[in-house]
Subunit: 328 residues, 2 copies
Amino acid sequence: MGAAGAEAKLRGGIDLGGTKIQAAIVTAEGEVVGDSRRPTPSSGGPADVAEQLAEALREAAAAGGVDPGTLEGIGVGSPGETNEVTGEVSRAVNLPGWDDAFALGPALSEALGVPVRVGNDVDVATNAEFVLGAGRPYGSILGVFWGTGVGGGLILDGKPWHGRGAAGEIGHVVVEIGGAHCPCGRRGCMEAYAGRGPMEAKARHEHANGKKTQLFEIMEKKGRERLSSSVWDRALKQDDQLAKKLVDRAVKALGAGVASAVNLLDVEAVIIGGGLGLRLGQPYVERIAAQMSKHLFLDKRPPAIVLAELGDLGGAIGASLLFDAAPR
Amino acid sequence: MGAAGAEAKLRGGIDLGGTKIQAAIVTAEGEVVGDSRRPTPSSGGPADVAEQLAEALREAAAAGGVDPGTLEGIGVGSPGETNEVTGEVSRAVNLPGWDDAFALGPALSEALGVPVRVGNDVDVATNAEFVLGAGRPYGSILGVFWGTGVGGGLILDGKPWHGRGAAGEIGHVVVEIGGAHCPCGRRGCMEAYAGRGPMEAKARHEHANGKKTQLFEIMEKKGRERLSSSVWDRALKQDDQLAKKLVDRAVKALGAGVASAVNLLDVEAVIIGGGLGLRLGQPYVERIAAQMSKHLFLDKRPPAIVLAELGDLGGAIGASLLFDAAPR
C-alpha cells in the first residue's frame, strides 16, 4: 500500500452512526488505505460504544498495514452535541444510554494512544464533500444527508456555518403546517416524510392496515430487522407500489424543503448524500431536482444538484479532515 | 436643526416601494434631519419614477434645511435586481414599465448633482436594523419584512449574505406543498398566505362569495383602493372575523416559514418589520414567536424575535448607509 513511508501523514477517521460504525485510515490527500465497519452497539452505554469505535479503528489500521499509534490523529464524526474543545459528546439520542456528556475524545485517545478530535457527523461529511468530493467546484454548498433522518450541513463562502451551534437542521424545515408527525415531536417537518425512520413507520402502518407490499418480505430475506436503504432499493426495482408511493412522497418533501433552503440562501450547489441518497443514486437526485424546480424562486438558475462523490466512507474521510485544521 | 454645520457628513436615503417613495436626510450616526413621502407613480416608466425620487429627495432636503448638492451621497433601496456597480435596476415588477435595466443611479446623480448608490430594498432595510436598530446586539440576524409581499434579509457573522445574488427569499419558503397560489406563480409559499397582496385577494374572494366583513367599508372610508396595513389594523380592532381569520392564517404561515429558516441557520435574532409588521406591532411579533415555537427544533433556545426599531423610515435610513461602505 506504500503507507509505511507516509505514516506520519496518515490520519484515522471514524463515522459513528446509529446503526453502524465505519473507520478508515486516510492520507492527507483523502485517500483511504484501510477501512472497516461494525454494528453500533444497541445496548450498554457510551463506554461500550467507545470500545467498538476503538476496535473499528484498529481493524481499519490492520487492513491498511498501519500501527494506530503512528497516526497523526483520529477524527470522529458523531451525532448529538459535540464539543470540539473538550471532545465531549452529549444528547446522542440514537445511541444507547447517551444523554449526558461523555468525554469520547479523551477516552479514545487513551485507548489508541494518539490525539482524537470530535466533530458533528453531518458537518464532517459536508466538509468532506466540499474539500474532496462533489462540492469541490463550489464556494457555498448545502449538504443533504438522506438517511434514517435527514441531516443538513452548510458551507457558506468557503466556511462551515454553524449559527449558534445548531444550524443545518434541514430535516426540520416545515413542508406542511400541521402535517405528518415527526420523530422530533413536531409536525410537518421534511423528515416526517423523507426520513427512512418515518418512512418505515408509515410502511408498517399501511401494511398492518392491509396494504400489499413486498417490503417486509425483502427485509426478512435480507436478514434485516429494519427497512434498510437496500430493502427500499430492491422494492423499487420490483415495482412495489407502496414503496414507490412512499419514496415519491419523500422526494416531494425533499424537493420542497431543499428548494426552501435554496430560496433563502441561494447556494451554488446542493450535494445529496446519506444512506438512502447514495443507494438510490443519480436517478433520484434528478427526481429531487425536478421536485425542487416547482418551488425554486429562480427556477431558471437553479443551483447544481449533485450526488455525493465520496460514498459510504464520506463520513469517516470527513472525520479524518478534523486534523486539517486547528480545533475550533 | 443644526444641520448646516455638519452638511459634509449628511447623506440622503431613498426607499423606493411599490406604493410609496420615502426620502430622508440622515446624519452619519443615522439620525434623520428631514424626510418626505410621495406616492410611487403607477404609470409611465423608470424615468418618471426617477423624477419622483429626485423630487422626494429635494423635499426631504428642504424639510431639513439642506442643499441637496452638499450631501456626501444618496443611497437608494430599490426592488428588483440592483447592480451596485453600475447603478442599474432591472426587473422591478411592481413598478411601471420597469423590466429592462434602467441606469437609476446615474440618472439620479445627474438630477441631484451628487454621487448615488443603489442597493436592494430589503438588504438595506436589514442592514439599517443591524447597524442602528433592533439588530444591534447580535452578530447574525434574519430580517423579515411583512408587507405586500414578505421579504427577507440575512446578516451572518456581521456580513450581509447574498448567495449568488438572490438570497433572502423567505417569502418563498414552502409552508404547504401544493398549497395556496402565490403571486410568484408557484404554490404553497409563505407569501401566498402572509403577503398583504394575497391576503387582500383572498379577502376579496371571500367577500364576493358572501362572507361578511368590514374590511372594504373601512378601506373606502379611508379613501384607499387597497387593503392597506392601516385597514387591516382597524378591522382587527373592530374584531372583524374575516380579518382575524386571514391574519391568523398569515401569522401561522410566518411562524412555520421563519422557524424553518431558524432551524436551518440558527441565527441569533429575527427582526420583524415591513408595513404590516410595523403596523400590527409587538402583540403580533409575540404571536409569530408563539407559532414559531411549534416548529423550532431547539424550542428551548429560540432566537430573539423582535420588532424592527427604525419604523417606517428604516428603508430610507438603510439606503443612506450605502455610503458607509465602498460599493461592492
